[in-house]
């Protein structure tokens, strides 16, 4: 199967740099899959799960906001954080989720914009982490 090169870069270094069969990324307008020789493409990425398949093995990566660029049979994903399932502390993520939900409930009561947005973002991150961790361990 023709392969496409995947690079995931964060401010803390390169997380992935290998040839893969398919990449599925969480675009802001919905998930999109990229196969080899995809047309040049640029999309913003939201917090979620990035999946890539290699030799019939799927790998899951939690990513937060950033963007993905496809050109010359290469996918470059630039995100602020990217974590594999086995690097994720699930208990911590669960605690973060609870905290974020609490904050969200409070913020909605007072309808404070900034706090609500922050809590929502934190919640998304926590949920993404938990999802990735669970899918990895399956």
């Amino acid at each position: 199967m023709a392969q496409i090169h995947l690079e995931v870069v964060t401010p803390h270094g390169q997380i992935v740099n290998e040839d893969v069969d398919i990449v599925t990324a969480p675009g802001v307008e919905g998930e999109f899959g990229v196969l080899a020789h995809h047309a040049p493409f640029l999309s913003a990425i939201k917090t979620g799960t990035l999946v890539f398949k290699q030799d019939k093995r799927e790998k899951f990566l939690m990513v937060s906001s950033g963007f993905a660029e496809v050109s010359n049979n290469k996918v470059t994903v630039l995100v602020e954080t990217a974590e594999f399932g086995h690097d994720i502390d699930v208990n911590r993520a669960l605690r973060a989720k609870e905290r974020a939900e609490e904050r969200l409930a409070q913020a909605q009561a007072h309808a404070e914009d900034l706090d609500r947005i922050r809590a929502e973002v934190a919640l998304q991150r926590a949920v993404a982490r938990i999802t990735v961790a669970q899918r990895t361990s399956l």
Partner: protein
Amino acid sequence: MPGLKDVKNKIEGVSKTSQITKAMNMVASAKLRGAQERMETFRPYAEKFAEAMKDLSGGTNSNQPLLEVRDVQTVELIVVTSDRGLCGSFNAHIISKAQKLINQFEVEGKEVSLITVGNKAAQAFRRSGKIRESYKDIMSTFKMFNARAISQSATLNFLSGETDEVRVVYARFLSMAKQRPTEETLLPIKPLEQEKGAKTGTAVEYIYEPDPEQIMEALLPLHLNVQVYHAMIEVAAGEHAARMAAMDNATNACGDIIKELTQLYNKARQAAITGDLMDIVGGAEH
């Protein structure tokens, strides 16, 4: 002539100081290596980001609120310094640069508010009454979310119209021996000029999802994070380099002082011996 014992004590004291400065030098050099590594790992991200921003800004007309250029009445300065001292004039340079800017803005009749990053900046401007927010003890952790909090706060203030311009003052890490205080305008974001010439001709037509305008909107806040984070790691690397140089100087100075004191000690000892001999010779003649 000082007493023998005094000189000896002093030599001991100075040599202990030199041990400490030497140790600090070594610690700083180890930390500098870490900081430089972080700069290295961050560079590809920053470069790719700038590239994409350039691609995007070509296709968009700037009616983004973050690009809006207003008549400047109030300016916010983000001053980034280190948390700790004993690194020569490193922080002093950044602070004096910031102070100069403040003075300049005030002469022009603009109001200035400050966000300080690092303990030293907070200390320096504590009495000025201009500090809106200050972030302390975060320089050693290198977390992106620290930068995120700072840039978010500045952005919100800008969007609400509290400030018309945001600048960041930090020291650029040029080399081991040179860190230059620099200021950059953070907000409004200047649309990146596409390089004139053949380069645009070869650029591939991308499929954008969503359209470039909206991607831009999502990326601009991230772009600010990148810039603030960049300033922070430059300062962190600069701090350790400056401390290494300062501690190296201090160790050398200790060596010089020890040399002088040893000479003084030898002279004093010789004088004492000569004095004793004179006494003995004088006593024998009687």
